[in-house]
């Protein structure tokens, strides 16, 4: 009894003390980094899946992979919109006039990190050659790897698909077979021949998962390549406890590379450049990543300086941010900084534009005037401001254009023609014969029942979206049924063009507008085109755009395509989320990348410096 009383008394006393005062800024946890330590500690909010570039598709695995493996090209660390720069290639690729042949020269003297897989070689390491990139690209199409990013190369490189088709038949992918689309005239030259004109293939070569792997390592580690990444990048994997701890250490043999980036006119970027330019890359010697599922734990650990940078605190934003998106004074006074940027993503509500879903008529499908009017009315009734302010608690911005900021082809001045206006939506429905019955709900112009089906997952967050959809459609007298299903099943149904209405998101794979505009390309119905939108006008322009490099001509086509989509109302673009990254004052050089660029190698840390 006495023990219990003491325990309870201590607990209540502690609660009283805890409620009364906040941990002081100077009360750094004994578990924080020691002065002089050049280690960056950070968290992932979701467990990684592994570090074999062809086998993963999640964001966090990609971050680690981009620190270990190096693609031929990359993006300038500061430039926005993203700008391609050479990485392992000595220069940007030479592209033939017809946009079908890419020639690259690879740096000499770049080595894979020492590994047992290279036994017998001096220092257990090997020089990177052009053949490594050929091997690495081929792996994407090896059916055994079931790569989520196989689409980057499918149908694009001469002869590669035939090799993949043979592998599907024989069960064996012949990596030694010659592919007409790859030429390696010498150890340092790589020529890639494409099946069709593509002036934007460089973005694929800069994609963070298209780094070079060593065939010896892939063979040596067999089915466990996810846990044994061997690359040429600034870091190598030192310790790995799956789903828990990832420790990267500086690659001692990393090539000579000095900090350099295009700061442009942005003063914050200029400050980063002034502090970092000329420094040897990487400055941070060790990156320690802890997987922390819960936002509460991440937030407390960050405040106690057990971590140095915090990427994902969306749920807790009101704790550290003011309503106008600024860091609260109690944190700025501690020197904590917040880097706020809009994610390279779009979130949209898609409408199935096919006349039938399965064998049943689709009330919102087709391109007759009354069907377009119905989709337009739904889009005009949906309250995007509520979505942003209530559901996302202000942590998002309205999206007007299908290509988000920071991505080539984005149009900052573009304004979406579909505005929130339930009154006009009602008038539109009245005009096209969607009359209201005695119960206040509308029927189809032919008098049949009008019931929409909206799909979502059975999560708390989605329940809020369901309620908003119901409220929005009630305002214009349209009945909606909410259908719940598992995420995987919804993807399956979307791929079969069997979803009537659903909210979806697309995050940039690479910072080029094509990655977004393909979402409405007719032949992509059943893959990424969940609206199953098939517009000859849109498709014609999209096919033209694919043959053009980034520039005014392509942007003009994109604008026309965006207007076409709005006219047909295949989507309602809603919002893009903010990313609020918190940093302690001793962390330098951070800039949120539009895509997965190895940002840690560009950062610095000085726990002893003035801050």
């Amino acid at each position: 009894m006495t023990k219990a009383c003491v325990f309870i008394a201590i607990l209540f006393a502690a609660i009283l003390v805890g409620c009364g005062e906040r941990a002081s800024p100077d009360s750094v946890s004994p578990h924080a980094g020691s002065p002089g330590e050049k280690a960056l500690r950070l968290t992932f909010s979701t467990a990684e899946t592994g570090f074999d570039p062809v086998k993963v598709s999640d964001y966090y695995s990609g971050l680690v992979i981009s620190a270990i493996f190096e693609p031929l090209l990359t993006y300038d660390y500061l430039a926005r919109p993203a700008r391609l720069v050479p990485n392992i290639a000595t220069a940007l690729p030479q592209i033939s006039d017809d946009g079908k042949t890419y020639t690259l020269t690879i740096r000499r003297g770049v080595y894979f990190t020492p590994d047992a897989a290279f036994k017998g070689l001096p220092d257990s390491r090997r020089e990177l050659t052009s053949a490594d990139y050929v091997y690495s690209i081929k792996r994407f199409l090896d059916p055994k790897n079931r790569s989520p990013y196989a689409f980057l190369f499918e149908g694009k490189i001469v002869g590669l698909d035939r090799l993949a088709a043979n592998a599907k038949k024989s069960g064996h992918f012949d990596y030694d077979a010659a592919v007409a689309g790859f030429e390696t005239p010498d150890r340092y030259t790589l020529r890639i021949r494409l099946t069709d004109t593509d002036f934007n293939f460089s973005h694929v070569l800069a994609f963070n998962l298209v780094g070079a792997v060593a065939r010896e390592a892939i063979v040596a580690y067999g089915d466990d390549t996810n846990a044994h990444p061997v690359g040429t990048g600034a870091y190598q994997l030192k310790r790995y406890v799956r789903s828990s701890k990832i420790v990267l250490e500086k690659n001692a043999g990393f090539r000579e590379l000095r900090w350099s980036a295009d700061a442009g006119s942005d003063t914050a970027d200029q400050a980063i450049a002034a502090r970092m330019t000329g420094k040897k890359i990487p400055q941070i010697e060790r990156v320690e990543i802890s997987v922390m599922d819960e936002a509460q734990s991440r937030w407390l650990a960050f405040q106690r300086r057990e971590t140095d940078i915090e990427y994902q605190l969306e749920e807790l934003a009101p704790k550290f941010m003011t309503m106008d998106g600024k860091l609260k004074p109690e944190y700025t006074s501690q020197g904590i900084r917040m880097e706020r940027s809009v994610d390279a993503e779009i979130i949209y509500l898609f409408f199935n534009t096919q006349e039938k879903i399965g064998n049943a008529p689709n009330p919102i499908g087709g391109f007759s005037k009354e069907k377009i009017a119905l989709r337009r009315a739904i889009a005009m009734a949906y309250n995007i401001d509520d979505q942003i302010n209530v559901i996302r608690k202000g942590q998002a911005v309205r999206t007007h254009y299908p290509i988000p900021p920071g991505i080539a082809g984005h149009e900052p001045a573009y304004r979406n023609s579909i505005a929130y206006d339930p009154q006009l939506a009602n008038a539109l429905l009245d005009k096209f014969g969607y009359t209201r019955g005695a119960d206040g709900y509308r029927t189809l112009p032919n008098g049949n029942l009008l019931i929409l089906k909206y799909y979502s997952t059975p999560t708390e967050r989605d329940r809020q979206f369901d309620e908003l959809m119901k409220r929005s459609l009630d305002a214009i007298g349209i009945r909606v049924e909410i259908h719940k299903d598992r995420f995987a099943e919804l993807i399956k149904l979307a791929n079969q063009c069997r979803l009537m209405m659903k909210s979806a998101a697309w995050i940039a794979d690479y910072p080029d507008g094509d990655n977004f505009m393909q979402l409405l390309y007719g032949p992509n119905a059943g893959q990424t085109n969940s609206a199953c939108y098939k517009s000859p006008e849109y498709d014609k322009r999209y096919e033209q755009s694919r043959r053009l490099p980034d520039g005014p001509q392509r942007n003009h086509l994109y604008r026309e395509m965006a207007r076409q989509m709005e006219a047909d109302t295949a989507w309602l673009l809603t919002d893009s989320r903010y990313r609020n990254v918190l940093l302690h004052p001793y962390v330098a050089g951070y800039k949120k990348s539009a895509v997965n660029v190895s940002e840690w190698m560009y950062m610095g840390i000085d726990r002893q410096g003035p801050h």
Partner: protein, 312 residues
């Protein structure tokens, strides 16, 4: 006794078959098609078919069920669909962190609850008894989430006595540095219900004739309570502890998530989120087997605790 044990082991087979069937039906009915999750953002029907083939989910259901049964027989559940890690390796690496937290939690929690229950049972009806019971009722009504958040905030963040989260490389560091707060949380959560439960066990015994006889013979109260009452109340306590033991295999997922402990509980949650059937299958089967084994052990322990118990 041997015949009893053999008979009980034979009964494991139909029980396990029931579990296997249930898991298999539930996964195929509710689980969703994993190929669509693994295919990534841009997949065509050919890729989906390739993934289904590689996972073996394109096989007829009876073939898949047979493979599942053979996996149980051989103990080889293959590899995780999401990460390609061997399921056996997942258990080998995740079980130790879970047990590092859960075993001390169970021992300390049970010991504390027994002592507390014995004390309040002895003072039944007194102010102390009522106060503890009210506290236990309140404590029992609070969600484990609240315990975790409050304890983490106060003892790790405000007072800085423990790290907010984390896990090290060696056993002693993990036990003495990273596990202490999770263990305290776990004990705090289990203390209230266990104390109430054990109190009733002790009260049942305190009113028995043999207690009165022992007192009449002049035995000290410490001996009456600590030997006679405790020993006779041990059977239901053993049952309660044994019921909790299989749960050690499944881990304490909330505690593991909040304190970033790389245990089996977090892994199970991840597997469910990723529709990672091999991991789900293995965990379910192992927990079912552990439940059967610990139930048998409990029965054998009854005999050891109370020689009057006959195993037939």
């Amino acid at each position: 006794m041997s015949a009893y044990i053999i008979r009980r082991i034979l009964q494991f087979v139909p029980t396990l078959l029931g579990v296997v069937l249930l898991v298999f039906i539930l996964f195929n009915w509710i689980g969703g098609d994993p190929a669509y999750l693994l295919a990534g953002k841009m997949s065509n029907p050919e890729q989906i078919a390739n993934i289904r083939k590689q996972l073996g989910v394109d096989q007829p259901y009876y073939v898949q069920l047979w493979i599942f049964i053979m996996q149980i027989v051989t103990g080889d559940f293959g590899v995780s669909w999401a990460t390609n890690e061997k399921v056996s390796a997942i258990f080998a690496t995740r079980l130790i962190p879970s047990l590092t937290v859960l075993v001390p939690m169970l021992i300390v929690g049970t010991a504390m609850a027994m002592v507390l229950a014995l004390l309040v049972a002895y003072q039944r009806g007194a102010l102390t008894d009522r106060a503890v019971m009210i506290t236990c009722t309140v404590g029992q009504s609070i969600s484990i989430l609240v315990y975790i958040i409050v304890f983490q905030y106060i003892f790790a963040f405000q007072l800085g006595w423990f790290p907010v989260q984390g896990w090290g490389q060696d056993f002693m560091t993990n036990l003495l540095k990273f596990s202490v707060l999770p263990i305290v949380v776990g004990v705090a959560v289990s203390l209230a219900p266990d104390t109430r439960l054990y109190r009733t066990f002790f009260l049942d015994e305190i009113n028995q004739d043999y207690v009165r006889t022992a007192r009449a013979k002049g035995m000290s109260e410490a001996r009456v309570m600590g030997v006679h009452v405790l020993r006779n109340a041990a059977i239901p306590i053993v049952t309660n502890v044994m019921i909790q033991l299989p749960a050690l295999l499944a881990g304490a997922f909330l505690i593991e998530r909040f304190f970033s402990i790389p245990g089996i509980g977090r892994e199970v949650l991840l597997a469910v989120e990723r529709s990672d059937f091999p991991v789900i299958k293995a965990v379910t089967v192992y927990v079912a087997m552990a439940t059967l084994v610990f139930n048998l052990l409990a029965d054998i322990l009854y005999k050891a605790v109370d020689p009057r118990v006959q195993l037939k």
